[in-house]
Symmetry: D2
């Protein structure tokens, strides 16, 4: 109430700078630019961006310490994200920073290390049509949506998605080619909340879609840290009776 939500939008930002890649035209200001623009509509959000090729990937200690919720898009260069930065982000999530993992971010080091699984899946580029069905209409991430999001053409992701069962499964995707996918998945790790959201291939204008923006905005609010207790660990005395 009253306090801003400080959001950092992280992006690999390689495809969009590659002249002949379709992403170059679709996202001239980068995928992070499109996501940040959608979030800046909210008057209580303070939004900054950070990208792979900035020093420390744009995720300095100071940036991380002042981030309430981090969104993550990566695809081709997961291996270039330095392990010590991943470790810092991981630590911040456990301390309470929210994390929204988008689309091909399923294979990001940070997501895999938080999940403990391969996070592998089936995929197909081509002629699929996607619909995301809401299976938990009471969840705050669905605020303002209809019964499903009609994405139109998108890259297909199919099960088996090798993740731990979500604490809450919010969306399930239908693809015209015959697959389904758990495409909106909530987790808690430490004091931090994590939301994986499927759509967002770089060759489609997904992050301009109103419903997609609504979901990301809702997810930021949901993942914003709450002021619960900071646990203490280690050797302890018995409580007085």
């Amino acid at each position: 109430m009253g306090r801003s939500v400080r959001v950092t939008v992280w992006n690999e930002y390689r495809h969009e700078r590659s002249e002949h890649h379709p992403a170059c035209k679709i996202y001239p200001e980068g995928i992070h630019g499109a996501i940040a623009k959608g979030l800046r509509v909210e008057s209580d959000f303070e939004v900054r961006t950070a990208t792979l090729d900035e020093p420390e990937h744009g995720l300095t200690d100071e940036v991380l310490a002042n981030t309430d919720v981090l969104t993550w898009w990566g695809h081709a260069a997961h291996g270039e994200v330095r392990d010590e930065i991943v470790a810092k982000v991981h630590q911040r999530v456990l301390e309470g920073m929210g994390l929204i993992v988008l689309h091909s971010g399923h294979f990001a080091k940070i997501f895999r290390s938080l999940m403990g699984t391969t996070c592998d899946l089936k995929w197909r580029e081509g002629n699929d049509h996607e619909r995301l069905w809401v299976v938990e209409p009471g969840h705050p991430i669905t605020c303002g949506l209809g019964e499903y999001i009609d994405m139109g053409p998108e890259e297909m992701y199919g099960e088996r998605f090798d993740i731990p069962a979500p604490e809450t499964l919010v969306f399930v995707s239908w693809f015209s080619g015959g697959e389904i996918f758990r495409s909106g998945c909530c987790y808690t790790r430490g004091r931090g909340k994590i939301f994986y959201f499927r759509p967002g291939h770089e060759t489609y204008p997904t992050y301009y879609n109103d419903d997609v923006r609504r979901v990301i905005t809702n997810a930021v609010r949901w993942a914003n840290p709450t002021n619960g207790p900071v646990p203490t660990f280690g050797n302890t005395q018995p409580l007085e009776k």
Copy 2:
């Protein structure tokens, strides 16, 4: 180990006795007959059947007391199942009896009273094609299956399915008409295990399908009561130190 699993296959058994109904030809021995036949292949299963129009719906105290796992198929006559029988079945589930709820059984009084929700859903008869994707390949109910069950034509059930989030979601269905459905759902209520399994419209030969039979057999084994503690309730003394 060594002890038999005593299964009671319950069926409404109305459509199949109606001369002009397609179910009459598909299931000449009733849906219960087809399901029981699939289960009797297992040498350690003792299988009996019970139907709505038998006295006490075939679910006498003696039958219930000697049932480890009950399977339930109903559709048109949920309202004719007597409340006092439903209460007895409910009580037996809480005591540990397994319950496998099939297809249109989603609207059975026993399922609704165990779930606490309407269990409503979308549906369509016609030209849909169904595939059930395994999303938890480590779950015992998936033993012996491939990555998906290809059902071919079936009635469509679509989300929102108004159930509590399953403790374990094992299958998600894809339908060619554009819908998805949580079609294999595990619950525990009291000491009893419950599995809802979607396929099985009376106008399709679903219960002759090898994979469907495998799932029901696996589910019976999974829901078979384990010999855990019988809780005591009420006023109690402090434990000695």
Copy 3:
């Protein structure tokens, strides 16, 4: 944001009107009075109360239609709550109204019908000391708390608590006599959120405790309906491709 949260505090209100009952002195304005007072501190809450002996138990259609979150305390007269009122409250929860069930409300018809289990437990009045440990410090219901709430003397509730496994287990109680209890339990049923919170025997001034008030306030915010989709059910057409 901006809109009030309309809270109705329901109470059986019998013990407190019984001259020789300790609750008469501890809660001269009723348990509902104490709970409502704690909630009225929040400037964006609109709080009203309702009690068993009012017409329709104070839960008219108009009151229910204008309630975002209902809190429920009952103990000795669960059986006097009329089934048709319970059915209306149940329906409203499925539609999205939040429900906070307090202490002996575990045996209320509304809680049992939403859970599908007996909701039975062990109990003891006497010399127990209770501590509620936070096991999910990232959950919004723990906002502002320390690592545990020290209740001091309270009635003991012990496991086995015959409930479905909570979707989120927030608190676990320790009792000096040797028992533990899952004392903060989150559920979703339909579009409605439900929180069971253990403390609050009528012979202790529990509802004046700052931490207890904080938990109930947090729970009201958590259970406040979000504006997700209203599902449609029934026969449906295939989606156009």
Copy 4:
């Protein structure tokens, strides 16, 4: 049915070889010796042991490939377990091998990497008395138990236990000094099942306790791989209609 369960009991095996350490007298054949003895009572278990100071920590490719369920006890030398062996064990769990993590194994590299959290907790050696309450009496791991296990004196572990919320919480411990602990926790990662079980400090004869042995035996049966589908990942063709 009919096939043996191949169990490998892994132990750090340092305390017990230290002449002046109490574990030396309590576990003259090592903690692994005591655990293995308890498991060998089962006629369908094939039990071997492996320890830290053996080549490859006793966990060669051949041993891992022929292990259905691995139990893990470690305490003082977690850091000496080589990362490449941890990676192999991790991979085998995702492929379906069961893993039973015991007591101070909460800090083992393998458990932390599977959980994605610190797995930290509170602890105290001294005069605590532990009782483990069964909260899910329908779970197969509770087969043959009473309502609680009275451990008598044990090391205390207290919340906050920094783990992801268990898929199933089976036991909660009560400690006389004032703490509680989620002491029996079930997970699935990949196709593998994981059970964390709290008791077992090296200065107490915990692994000779009949109930503790029963729990470990039950957990091995529960975690034994089932023959579900082996997922395929990567680029895939649309399914034929």
